[in-house]
């Protein structure tokens, strides 16, 4: 049988050692009523060749970024990934190992985690970062939960309506059963950013935290200064959520604008889109909050011969020690995706990250200008953006077929998430969208 190396004589001898004669005797102490109905009604196994054929047939039914011009972002981004990334994460020493509970034989993973934490701190401008969470959405929820631990007596959480809609859903799911949390949705303005006047009216000493996208779901770069001032006045914590962290190679990082917590989705840094997962969540904050953080942390120490080494640390926050009093129930950190991202950031480095970010911004700005001037699409928001933006195209739903015929997905229709944004499209342009594709996008809109 595939993957089980036991020959008939292995089985017979092992059973004899145990004192049995049949494999079925290994579980004859289970109730017969259970054993009798345990047969699995699935097809028989397949050869490796047949598995590959079946999987390839399924894969062929999907439209990929190789065959289609996708102008899709909205939390998941198509970027160039150096071949070195997959080479490293394919190494079985990284891919098949467990959470590094035995540090003497896990220094590879632990050092990579430590390096990752450093890279995230540098990128976000924050003081400490953990080794990763499930995804950006649950990282945003964990940010709220950490604020709750830090802000006893305060219960209002202000969540920007311009934060990724799925992230808002996940936050709502996570806090639904916590009686001391009240979510307040903050509207957006014509700029496409959080409404500072609404906040000025609403944020008072009851405010636990303000959560907003940076850049937000519309691609707009929020102006954090006035929000920071409001938080200072009320004692609320400021949490930023970044779904496109490549932007932070170019934009002022959240830490520089006074964010207390900076979280986000890391997929855009070296992880393929893969229908939106697995990627990883990143979670950074001010140092004084470190003992309230969720998730794994790698820390530096020395071994018995005073050599530098790394261990999982501050585990007293975690569920395997604290059980019901843990800061979170999370006990994985999407480590292999975190490693991919660590390799990605190391490969691009200081100048490469900047270059890639600039190419994104440049192509996106050029594309927007073209779509407005040449194709007659209407700008929707006035705020600055990084690599995605919202435009209005009249009769958008009628255009679908025309685009499909040319194998173009022009963007994410926003009406599904925002009824007030009928005919609006969130268009993302990365370094993977060539000039000719952009030209064709504009031309196809212009045909209407």
């Amino acid at each position: 049988m595939r993957y089980t190396p036991h020959t008939p004589s292995d089985k017979a001898e092992m059973l004899r050692e145990i004192g049995l004669s049949e494999v079925e005797q290994l579980f004859d102490h289970l109730p017969a009523a259970l054993r009798d109905k345990a047969q699995i009604a699935l097809p028989p196994g397949l050869s490796e060749t047949a598995v590959k054929r079946r999987m390839a047939a399924l894969a062929a039914k999907n439209g990929t970024a190789e065959d289609w011009s996708l102008f899709l972002g909205g939390g998941i981004y198509h970027h160039a990934i150096p071949s070195a990334v997959d080479a490293v994460i394919s190494r079985s020493e990284f891919a098949t190992s467990y959470t590094p509970y035995q540090p003497e034989v896990s220094q590879g993973t632990l050092q990579a985690m430590f390096e990752f934490q450093t890279l995230i701190c540098q990128l976000t401008g924050m003081e400490v970062a953990n080794a990763g969470l499930y995804d950006g959405a649950s990282a945003a929820a964990e940010a709220v939960l950490m604020a709750r631990r830090l802000q006893e007596g305060k219960h209002r959480v202000f969540v920007s309506r311009a934060l990724h809609p799925q992230y808002r859903q996940v936050i709502a799911t996570y806090v639904k059963n916590l009686v001391d949390v009240e979510l307040v949705e903050v509207p957006f303005t014509g700029r496409g950013g959080i409404d500072p006047e609404f906040l000025a009216r609403q944020v008072d000493e009851r405010a636990m935290c303000v959560v907003l996208g940076y850049p937000n779901f519309f691609g707009v770069i929020e102006d954090l200064a006035p929000i920071r001032a409001l938080c200072d006045r009320s004692g609320a914590l400021l949490a930023t959520v970044t779904t496109e962290p490549l932007s932070l190679a170019l934009l002022k990082p959240p830490g520089e604008s006074g964010a207390d917590i900076a979280v986000g989705e890391g997929q855009s840094l070296g992880v393929p889109m893969a229908l939106g997962g697995p990627g990883f969540g990143f979670f950074a904050c001010q140092k004084r909050f470190v003992r309230s953080m969720p998730g794994r942390l790698a820390g530096q120490t020395v071994d018995s011969e005073e050599r530098r080494g790394f261990v999982l640390t501050l585990a007293t926050r975690e569920q395997h020690i604290r059980r019901e009093k843990a800061t979170s129930n999370i006990c994985t950190s999407q480590t292999l995706c975190v490693l991919a991202s660590t390799v990605f950031m190391a490969m691009l480095g200081k100048s490469g990250m900047r270059r890639m970010a600039e190419v994104n911004a440049r192509r996106a700005h050029r594309a927007r200008e073209r779509l407005v001037k040449e194709a007659g699409l209407a700008p929707v928001f006035s705020g600055p953006f990084f690599n995605e933006f919202v435009l209005k195209a009249k009769g958008l739903s009628r255009l679908q077929e025309r685009f499909a015929a040319k194998k173009i997905v022009p963007g994410i229709p926003l009406a599904e998430f925002y009824p007030e944004l009928q005919d609006c499209l969130l268009i993302c342009v990365t370094e993977m969208n060539e000039e000719e594709e952009i030209e064709q996008l504009a031309r196809t809109f212009g045909e209407g």
């Binding site: 993957y3 089980t4 190396p5 292995d10 092992m14 290994l26 579980f27 109730p31 109905k37 699935l42 490796e48 999987m55 399924l58 990929t64 970024a65 190789e66 899709l72 998941i76 150096p82 098949t96 190992s97 467990y98 003497e104 034989v105 050092q111 390096e115 450093t118 990763g132 959405a137 799925q166 996940v170 799911t173 639904k176 170019l250 889109m273 893969a274 939106g276 997962g277 697995p278 470190v290 790698a298 071994d303 530098r308 975690e318 604290r322 059980r323 843990a326 006990c331 390799v343 490969m347 691009l348 480095g349 200081k350 100048s351 270059r355 890639m356 190419v359 911004a361 440049r362 600055p384």
Partner: protein, 490 residues
């Protein structure tokens, strides 16, 4: 034995990536593109201070050297109890990398995602069949998130009935995530003790079970590797007071084709695909923690749900009772692809054989080591077995010392000091993918370590001797946390 203590030539530790390289170097080439970025200068940052500046080969050498400091399944036997460190098949990796799976966008029109939806639907169906449940959601990113989602289903269901209730019963053998997830779901935890057979007695549940209890969380086989043979009676106790039964499916690798949780009175469970379905652990994720339910909880499953429609599949969000969304998009799709490939590779017979051989390997180790180490409970084991350090304690050798000494023999240690009910627990889960020869080599190593504990306990207490680094000062790491590299200040 003295030659064992001779210090092996430990490879030098690897410098941090921030300590190597040179200003201006990069492993990434992209032609210069002319023109402004379009962004106002005041929004931009300066260069990222301290960020790495390395060439491509330098990066690869760095990570290849780091990889040499790790144990992994393909280089070492890795019998971590409750973690199911089985072989991670290569074909799964190959198919997950097909562009048709790796280069698809979750917000693309459904017409472009039909193959993905078909796969997800097929996986939901297969998992439901394996576990004997009625419906499955694949959204949870890990077992712990599955637990949270599962408890939210319980809570939503009971709330609909008029009262979400206040408490969750968790046995003392449970994984730490069970109580942590309960708290996160707004419940208080009532811990009950397992009996002297290492099982939960129906009477112990009955004693605390009343109308304030929302659910019992049970792991079966439990973390002692023992099948909770009274599970149906326990479920009756819980159901009789209107509560629900949650099964922590971490140990599903013991049950495929042997017994279905759906027949055990279980209302909701999660399955760890990174354990039972062979997807790589990745050094701590990504995993996947699908949740299976009986029909009474179906309407509460997270959205979106994938439904058959005509010749294809569609996403539906119109379920008014749904608990909402627990993760963005569709969960850890890449992990789900691997799990699906595994299931269709093995098929019904292969899955059944998998659990059978997992039981055979665990029972074999148990039999061969029971004269050397004290077994924690005399009951028969399923896919893992738990020993203690009682015999070795006489020489002041602890489980930690035994674990560290195993590293010198080239084996990853078992899970240690868990479950908490066993003092000095050594929890061994060999999995089905190990050959008899590997098990014998491990048994020899453990036997030899037991002898060393008698003859030369210091050898164990100072172990490991041959690993890249020796015992690390964990107290120091926690006392003065250094969690990131920082440039030297003059």
């Amino acid at each position: 034995m003295q030659e064992h203590s001779a210090k092996a030539k430990a490879p030098a530790t690897v410098p941090l990536m921030f300590e190597s390289g040179s200003p201006g170097r990069t492993g990434f080439f992209w032609p210069e593109e002319a023109g402004p970025t379009g962004l106002p200068q005041e929004l931009l940052r300066d260069e990222i201070p301290g960020f790495p500046e390395l060439g491509e080969l330098e990066v690869l050498r760095h990570f290849t050297r780091l990889s040499h400091l790790n144990f992994g399944i393909e280089s070492q036997f890795y019998p971590l109890g409750s973690c199911t460190m089985k072989y991670n098949p290569k074909v799964n990796e190959a198919v997950a990398r097909l562009p048709g799976f790796s280069l698809i966008h979750p917000l693309a029109p459904p017409a472009l995602l039909q193959g993905a939806f078909e796969l997800l639907f097929g996986l939901e169906t297969a998992l439901a069949e394996i576990a004997g449940m009625d419906a499955v959601t694949l959204q949870p990113a890990a077992g712990a998130q599955g637990e949270l989602a599962g408890l939210m289903l319980v809570r939503a269901y009971l709330s609909e009935k008029g009262n979400p209730r206040r408490k969750i019963i968790v046995p003392d053998t449970a994984h730490g995530t069970n109580p942590a997830s309960s708290t996160l779901c707004g419940y208080d935890v009532v811990q009950i003790r397992s009996n002297d057979q290492g099982m939960v007695a129906p009477s112990a549940v009955a004693k605390v079970m009343d109308e304030s209890v929302a659910a019992l969380m049970l792991t079966n086989p439990n973390t002692l590797g023992i099948f909770e043979k009274n599970i149906n009676a326990i479920a009756d106790v819980v159901h009789s007071k209107g509560g629900l039964v949650y099964l922590d499916g971490a140990n599903m690798n013991a049950l495929m084709g042997i017994a279905k949780p759906g027949h055990m009175g279980v209302d909701v469970l999660h399955i760890n695909l990174h354990k039972t379905c062979s997807t790589p652990h990745g050094g701590g994720g990504p995993g996947a923690g699908p949740v299976g339910v009986k029909n009474l909880l179906r309407d509460y499953l997270p959205v979106p749900r994938i439904m058959k429609s005509g010749n294809g599949y569609e996403l539906r969000e119109d379920f008014s009772k749904a608990i909402g969304r627990v993760r963005s998009f569709f969960g850890n799709f890449g992990v789900l692809v691997r799990a699906y490939a595994y299931i269709i590779s093995l098929g019904s017979d292969g899955l059944a054989e998998t659990s059978r051989m997992a039981l055979l390997n665990a029972n074999y180790i148990r039999r061969k080591l029971e004269s050397v180490f004290q077994i924690a409970y005399p009951e028969r084991c399923m896919h893992e077995c738990v020993f203690t350090d009682r015999l070795q304690q006489k020489r002041h050798v602890s489980t930690l010392d035994i674990a560290k000494r195993l590293l010198d023999y080239g084996f990853h240690p078992p899970t240690i000091y868990f479950p908490l009910v066993v003092s000095g627990a050594l929890m061994i889960e060999p999995t089905e993918t190990e050959s008899r020869e590997t098990l014998d080599a491990f048994i020899d190593a453990m036997t030899s370590i037991a002898r060393e504990a008698e003859e030369n306990p210091d050898l164990l207490k100072t172990a490991p001797h041959s690993t890249p680094v020796r015992r690390l000062d964990e107290a120091r790491a926690a006392r003065k946390p250094v969690l990131r590299w920082e440039p030297k200040r003059d």
